[in-house]
Amino acid sequence: MAILLVPLALARADEPPPSAPSPEVSQTISVLSYNVHGIFPLIAKDSPRERMPTIGWLARGYDVVLFQEDFEFHHLLRLQLEHHTGFTGNGMGWDPRRVAVKALLLPLSLAIPSFSPPYGAGLSTFVRDDIARPDDAGRKAYGLCHGWFGANGDCWARKGFLRVAMDTIGGRVDVYNTHLEAGPSRKSVKVRKAQLEKLAEAIEKRSGHHAVIVAGDFNISFNRPGDAVIMRRFRQRLGLEDSAAGPILPSWRERDYILYRSGPSIALGVEHSGEAMEFVSERRALSDHAALYAHFQVTPVPVDAP
């Protein structure tokens, strides 16, 4: 984390020291959001076990790291992020369908390494130790999904959101990590809409009007009918802005977003954002999603004296 102390004008000896915190003092916080495609190798069609250490190692450079699809190889990511405090999303829960599938697949899970579906949310968030608040986190499953097969196979994971808090120069900022329903069907759009409503409710309840960062794999494409509207409503309801982080390479689909808003005591601004190109090499990438980053400038807002 880089703390930028803008040089203050040299104070004259007869001037009293400033009593309120200077608005010129700011801090930069870097955020990475990455769907790491950490599923069973035969389904991933590659070797996630080999990719994960590199992803984790590269992610060290960020203050806040939000992973999605961190299902089977979480320990490999965590190993690399030794100076970060890790949080994980909700587990598989006790939904009878998932419990039945788990029981059915248990013999295979015991025999095959890195095969343990159905899953929990697959979310993990890592925050640098010096800004992490280890006891201030929350997670919740959406309790909604559509389908078990093909493009609509979202019920294999119990998707949800993970909230973690971090300390900044201006106070607490809540960071929400989420992975929404995938799939292009109307039913999938309907589920995504309901999930976003649940997420908005949670943010209103847990974070009030405070500064927040909301990021992850929203599975929302502005190129698909229906998706744009639900994203716009979600953002308007919470007053969220787009950090402008998005894919640069033409192969990537636009599914991931880093959104943010300022709070009464903290102004969040985007210094720069985009695709983290260190996760890509020529025609190969460390996952099937673009890794997005945003560098936020955090500035405390002085509270006016009554």
Binding site: N223, D242, S251, A285
Partner: protein, 117 residues
């Protein structure tokens, strides 16, 4: 060990080493990572757009081979209305992604046009 036995052992070792060297040269190298898609984001979008019903329009800002945003409309009452609606969406996304290039009409219906911005 008899000389004949050691000769056989030597031949076996040579065989194993040769087989390993052959395998190393001919088997495909395992490369880290996932191969990226051939089809671009814009190609996929164009394919999807073509399936929509008239009146429709597609408006974009930026470079379709890299960073760009778009707005589209469909099932509108006229071509003019379709362009207006698509342009409004494009402008919103252009602001989101902080793209300086203006929104320009790329297609009306399934016909690609290039508008002077």
């Amino acid at each position: 060990m008899r000389p004949e036995g050691s000769r056989t052992l030597f031949r076996v070792m040579i065989g194993v080493v040769s087989a390993c060297a052959f395998a190393a040269c001919t088997l495909p190298q395992r490369t880290l990572g996932i191969e990226m898609r051939e089809q671009s984001r814009f190609q996929q979008q164009w394919k999807r757009y073509q399936k929509l019903d008239d009146f429709k329009a597609l408006v974009i800002a930026g470079d379709v081979g890299g960073v760009y945003v778009s707005g589209f409309s469909y099932e509108m009452t006229s071509a003019d209305e379709a362009v207006r609606a698509a342009r409004a969406l494009c402008e919103q996304r252009r602001t989101d992604r902080r793209i300086l290039a203006p929104c320009r009409t790329l297609a009306i219906g399934n016909e690609r046009i290039e508008e002077q911005s």
